[in-house]
């Protein structure tokens, strides 16, 4: 809310010498946060003075325009006292008029520097200003003609035009709708600035009594519209101009001046907080009827939009049909125009929830709607209407018709029982009951204390505070006036905590392991489109294509919550490569979303705890959201240098990275070969723990590399960390090992290239028996010596007994047994 300071101070007194800074500091500390202090002239520097036009010579130009060559008396402001020669394109003035004149050296809003310049054959030394040029509004039809008593030529024009007038911009929280008005802000000044006094309520005025002479109004929905006041002004001069001070104030408040009739309704809304609607009375046919819309009804609103109305919309209708969305926006057919001479003024109180819903439904945001949906004082409809009528008559020369229609009455405000010590208990401050009562009365509450000594206050909130409904709401009012800055700082004493949970610890460990292995963590948005999944090469029936769709995605290209982190990390890797970070290893952890299609998550009641069943059903309705890890590496794993050649990243790096993660959890992965997009079909490892598949790793399919702008041979992995962590070994028994000598045996086996090394190894392990301590594949050979389609696997076996030295030949026998199983299982041939 932007509020001119002078307007606020018209309604409340502050001690002499109160600075704007002090006043706004106090407002901030009691809940109206200062956003900015602005004045219209803040961007204007240099000489801007009153000038008296001495002469003006119209000079038609070739381009069809006529300019005026003027001489202007600017007193001594130009240093010479001689008249100033100025070219002016406007014609709305005559010699003798006082005008706002900026002299060379001045700077106008927008950084527009004024100099003496040759134009239209003259040396124009300055400029005669329009309202728009001074940032005072949009009026550019002519220059500003000052009132004859504005001052002497050469006087500073800023005070005359209110250019120094400060406007404070306050952030208004939704619970303080009353502060969306000068009335409300002045009241806050009264309670927050020390020594402030004499609040003069703009809504406190004598209004004529209701009678049956006014425009007939029927309210069919009293719940939606508890109060409806109608007044009429006739004989209004539609050409009457809005007085400058009103234009300045509504402009400073952030609204656009339109016409006197509209400006006056806006002015009164800003002043009192009560939105007002004006109809062209001659276009209204018959009584006004307030009701809900009917199915199929339509209305073209003031903004020219034709709207299909909803049966929940509150509307105002006349004999012609619907003429307005009550409290939100008027209709086109009864709009006030440049020929309107009779005005029907409506000041009505509307149900806030209906206003909110209609606003959302029709996507209308307006100053009126903003106030109506947050709650307006229902008791000031008559006063606000009367104020509008007064201003219309005063400035538009009309006549206030004697008819005053008032339908309904403000709803009663319920009394709330508030414990007298609540503010003290909530704040931890020493606030007496007396102090609480004092604060509550200051904000407009009526407080009564029953004599029973129960310590309970009966509090009636003021009508402009519909937000005060619960006892605790009142404690905030007390505490903010006592001062949030007075709240002491006391540390509570929690019970002994249990620290991080095990999964929380393990997740950190995984991150550290990957960082230790040279991977850099990245964070991506979880939004994807089907094209991302196409880029991954996922087949049509891939379960990762069952996606949760967002109703209102930021980008139509990525309207889904992702089921895989791979598009994000591959995209990020591609960007890095594009930035020249070509030797790259990145990882990301985050949840992915698999819809369960389990039906709605119920909207449960809030006046009680949901039952365990209700709560469980809520969770069951949500998508599965496992925590995933994805990683990508490309370029060189080991850089080249004086130590030797670089080692490029390969499929094994992806598998090893996940193995390393698993090892940090005390787990060993089982690797089998698999075919899964987006991996290279011959270079994809399926990773499992205890028979459960936890993820995949390997080389990325060349087509996918290309789609993501990555070099060939880029590798990647994706793992379900929730699954992995669930398998993590918690309490591991300490190892024991033999100190008897080791016996080493090497063996080379030739198998078909299609036989997985893991199968050969497990056969050897099984055959070798208990004496086998370890087995290591130290060479893989393909080539002429083993023949086409065959490979040689060379293993180093170590044998040791826990309790004795092995006898001669014992290790060799175990080796032979191992080979025998491998031969049988894998068709291996021992190489000589």
């Amino acid at each position: 809310m932007k509020a001119p300071l002078s307007w606020i101070l018209e309604h409340v007194d502050v001690p002499a010498g109160t600075t704007t800074e002090h006043l706004t500091d106090r407002l901030t500390l009691t809940g109206l946060k200062l956003e900015a202090v602005v004045s219209p002239g803040r961007d204007i520097t240099g000489p801007l003075v009153i000038g008296r036009v001495l002469t003006m010579e119209p000079e038609p130009q070739k381009n069809g325009k006529t300019i005026n060559w003027c001489t202007v008396d600017v007193g001594d402001a130009n240093g010479t006292g001689e008249p100033q020669g100025i070219v002016c394109g406007a014609h709305n003035f005559e010699p003798g008029d006082l005008v706002a004149t900026v002299l060379p050296g001045g700077v106008l809003p927008g950084g527009f520097e004024i100099g003496a310049r040759k134009t239209y054959g003259h040396l124009s030394a300055g400029m005669i200003c329009s309202a728009r040029e001074l940032g005072l509004g949009d009026d550019h039809d002519g220059i500003i003609v000052l009132p004859p008593d504005a001052g002497q030529p050469g006087d500073d024009v800023r005070p005359v035009l209110g250019l120094d007038e400060e406007t404070i911009e306050l952030e208004i929280n939704p619970d303080r709708a009353y502060a969306l008005s000068i009335r409300g802000i002045a009241r806050e000044v009264l309670v927050s600035v020390d020594g402030a006094s004499d609040f003069r309520d703009p809504a406190d005025r004598q209004t004529p009594a209701a009678n049956d002479q006014g425009h007939p109004v029927v309210v069919e929905d009293a719940e939606g519209c508890p109060v409806f006041v109608a007044r009429t002004v006739t004989g209004f001069d539609p050409t009457a101009r809005t007085p400058d001070h009103i234009v300045q104030r509504i402009t400073a408040s952030g609204m656009r001046p339109i016409s006197l009739a509209v400006d006056v309704t806006n002015y009164v809304m800003l002043e009192t907080g009560r939105p007002i609607h004006g109809y062209d009375a001659d276009k209204v046919q018959g009584p006004l009827v307030v009701r809900r819309a009917r199915d199929g009804e339509r209305l073209t609103t003031l903004d020219g939009t034709e709207r299909n109305l909803d049966p929940a919309d509150l509307v105002v209708a006349d004999d012609s049909g619907i003429i307005g969305l009550g409290g939100v926006m008027g209709g086109e057919t009864t709009e006030m125009s440049g020929t309107t001479t009779s005005i029907l003024v409506e000041a009505a109180h509307w149900d806030a929830v209906s206003m909110y819903r209609t606003g959302r439904r029709h996507k209308i945001t307006s100053e009126a709607g903003r106030r109506n949906e947050r709650g307006v004082d229902p008791t000031i409809c008559e006063a606000a209407a009367d104020r509008v009528v007064e201003l219309l008559v005063e400035h538009g020369g009309g006549r206030a018709e004697p008819g005053v229609t008032v339908v309904g009455a403000p709803p009663a405000t319920p009394v709330v029982e508030v414990p007298g010590d609540l503010a003290a208990r909530v704040s931890g401050m020493d606030i007496s009951e007396e102090r609480s009562i004092e604060c509550l009365r200051a904000v407009g509450c009526e407080v009564s204390v029953d004599g029973s000594g129960s310590g309970t206050l009966s509090v009636t909130p003021p009508p402009w505070r519909p937000d005060l409904t619960d006892a605790q709401d009142f404690s905030e009012e007390v505490i903010r006036l006592v001062g949030y800055d007075k709240v002491p700082s006391v540390l509570p004493t929690p019970p002994s905590g249990r620290g991080l949970t095990r999964p929380q610890q393990l997740r950190r460990r995984i991150g550290r392991t990957l960082a230790g292995d040279g991977f850099v963590e990245v964070v991506s948005f979880p939004f994807v489109g089907t094209s991302d999944l196409d880029d991954l090469g996922l087949p049509e029936d891939d379960p990762r294509r069952d996606l949760l769709r967002l109703s209102n995605p930021l980008s139509a290209e990525a309207p889904f919550m992702t089921t895989t982190l791979l598009p994000g990390v591959l995209r990020t890797a591609g960007k890095n490569v594009g930035h020249g970070n070509t030797d790259l290893a990145i990882f990301e952890t985050g949840t992915v979303t698999f819809p369960r299609h389990a039906g709605p998550a119920a909207i449960l009641p809030v006046d009680r705890r949901p039952t365990d069943e209700e709560f469980a059903a809520l969770d069951a309705a949500l998508p599965a959201q496992p925590l995933h890890l994805a990683l990508v590496a490309a370029g060189d794993a080991v850089a080249g240098g004086w130590w030797g050649a670089p080692r490029p990243v390969g499929w094994a790096d992806a598998v090893e990275a996940v193995r390393s993660v698993a090892a940090s959890l005390g787990l060993e992965l089982t690797v089998t070969s698999a075919e899964l997009a987006p991996w290279h079909p011959g270079r994809c490892a399926e990773l499992s723990v205890d028979g459960e598949v936890v993820g995949h790793a390997g080389e990325v399919h060349p087509t996918v590399c290309q789609a993501f702008g990555l070099p060939k041979r880029t590798v990647a992995a994706e793992v379900d960390l929730d699954l992995l962590i669930a398998h993590a070994v918690h309490l591991r028994p300490a190892p024991t090992f033999s100190s008897y000598p080791v016996a080493k045996e090497d063996v080379a086996l030739v198998v078909d290239t299609s036989v997985p090394a893991a199968d050969v190894e497990s056969a050897l392990r099984e055959g070798a028996g208990e004496l086998l301590e370890s087995i290591r594949l130290f060479d893989v050979y393909t080539g002429d010596q083993v023949g086409e389609g065959r490979k040689s696997l060379a293993y180093a076996l170590r044998f040791r007994a826990p309790d004795r030295t092995l006898k001669e030949g014992e290790a060799a026998a175990a080796r032979d047994a191992a080979v025998a199983v491998a031969v049988e299982r894998t068709g291996a041939v021992q190489r000589a």
Partner: protein, 365 residues
């Protein structure tokens, strides 16, 4: 070589004259002294102490001597051999030391050569910031609560006193999922985790909930559709705003430095009543002559987050008896805290994934 001296034969004793033994010794000692390296010393050792060396041959003659002469000659030759061996050992030690020294000199390398062969990893600064904050609270006895990011509308809004027509709902630009009648949203705050915590455990509750949240903000230097929040919740008997203030002051001093306190301003959040905005004293200028301070933009204070006393309506919806328990809650942006703590003006590098950004922070901050 002579045969065994079975008969007394004076001719045979000539080689055992004292002068001759002395000569042998002197010749050996001279050769030892002249040996310039371990290799030539090895040869000297063979020449002067080996089986065929003069002293060894002389020694063998002792047996041929008459019994009285044997002792004398044995002594002389023994002394000579002892002196030679000693000299050899001494020379060996000297030459070995010299050799070692020379090797060390020869083996010198340029240790300024680059040594980094693999890539250096790093964790994301937001992860690190989240963990750091969690640790500060865990140290106080809090636990870390978690919940899903795709969340039930009821938990994200209704349970937190944001009814379907609450104007505050429009302040939060929510991502909704399809179908709309499923009432599922991307959580707009980490507060649903607080509701979940109250629904699943009994007071006293002292938890923090760091996590990702979503709003329909267009992505720019200061807005992101996804960002990170940390919220705290305490529910216990007799909890007041003073406890909230004390906790946030402590939090601020731990995160930003000794003496950095907070300031409360009245605000509005449906979840809390009373509610406050939290400002933290600028840790750069400490509100001393802030006019030129970039960090707080001349304010002396930095807007940090929101907080308040848990609204009794929320306690009721979450099954906590407000006549017994009260609580406080607070929430801060982790990204925002990181940004002003580390002088980052544009938040986008946090989500762009350029490895040069995360790498700069290593594995702890």
């Amino acid at each position: 070589m002579s045969g065994p001296n079975t008969d007394y034969d004076p001719v045979e004793v000539t080689p055992l004259k004292a002068e001759q033994v002395d000569e042998m010794r002197e010749a050996a000692l001279a050769a030892i002294a002249a040996a310039g390296d371990l290799e030539s010393l090895k040869q000297v050792r063979i020449d002067h102490t080996g089986d065929r060396s003069p002293l060894a041959l002389a020694n063998r003659e002792i047996g041929a001597l008459p019994p009285q002469a044997r002792k004398d000659a044995g002594q002389r030759i023994g002394q000579a051999r002892g002196a030679v061996n000693q000299a050899l050992a001494a020379r060996q030690a000297v030459l070995e030391a010299e050799h070692e020294e020379r090797m060390l000199v020869e083996e010198a390398v340029d240790v300024t050569l680059p040594t980094t062969r693999g890539r250096r990893g790093g964790r994301h600064p937001i992860t690190l910031q989240s963990e750091l904050i969690a640790d500060l609270f865990v140290a106080m006895g809090y636990e870390v609560s978690e919940g899903p990011v795709v969340e039930a509308e009821w938990l994200n809004f209704d349970a937190l006193n944001l009814g379907p027509d609450h104007p505050a709902r429009s302040m939060q630009d929510t991502f909704w999922t399809e179908p709309a009648e499923d009432h599922v949203v991307l959580r707009t705050q980490t507060s649903p985790v607080q509701a979940r915590t109250m629904l699943t455990r009994k007071p006293p509750i002292y938890v923090v909930c760091p996590g990702r949240v979503f709003r329909t903000d267009e992505y720019d230097a200061t807005h992101s559709p996804m960002f990170h929040q940390v919220e705290g919740l305490v529910v216990d008997e007799g909890i007041t705003m003073a406890h909230l203030k004390g906790t946030l002051d402590h939090f601020a001093s731990q995160l930003f430095g000794d003496g950095i306190a907070t300031r409360f301003r009245p605000s509005y959040f449906p979840f809390t009543e009373p509610s406050a905005e939290v400002d933290v004293l600028c840790f750069v200028c400490r509100n001393v002559d802030p006019a030129s301070c970039r960090t707080c933009r001349g304010e002396g204070w930095i807007e940090w987050g929101g907080c308040g006393v848990v609204n009794p309506r929320v306690l009721v919806a979450c099954g906590v008896d407000p006549s017994v328990y009260s609580g406080f809650a607070f929430g801060m942006g982790i990204d925002r805290s990181f940004m002003f703590r580390h002088d980052l003006e544009d938040l986008r590098p946090l989500f762009e994934g350029d490895v040069r950004f995360s790498s700069a922070f290593g594995t702890e901050i």
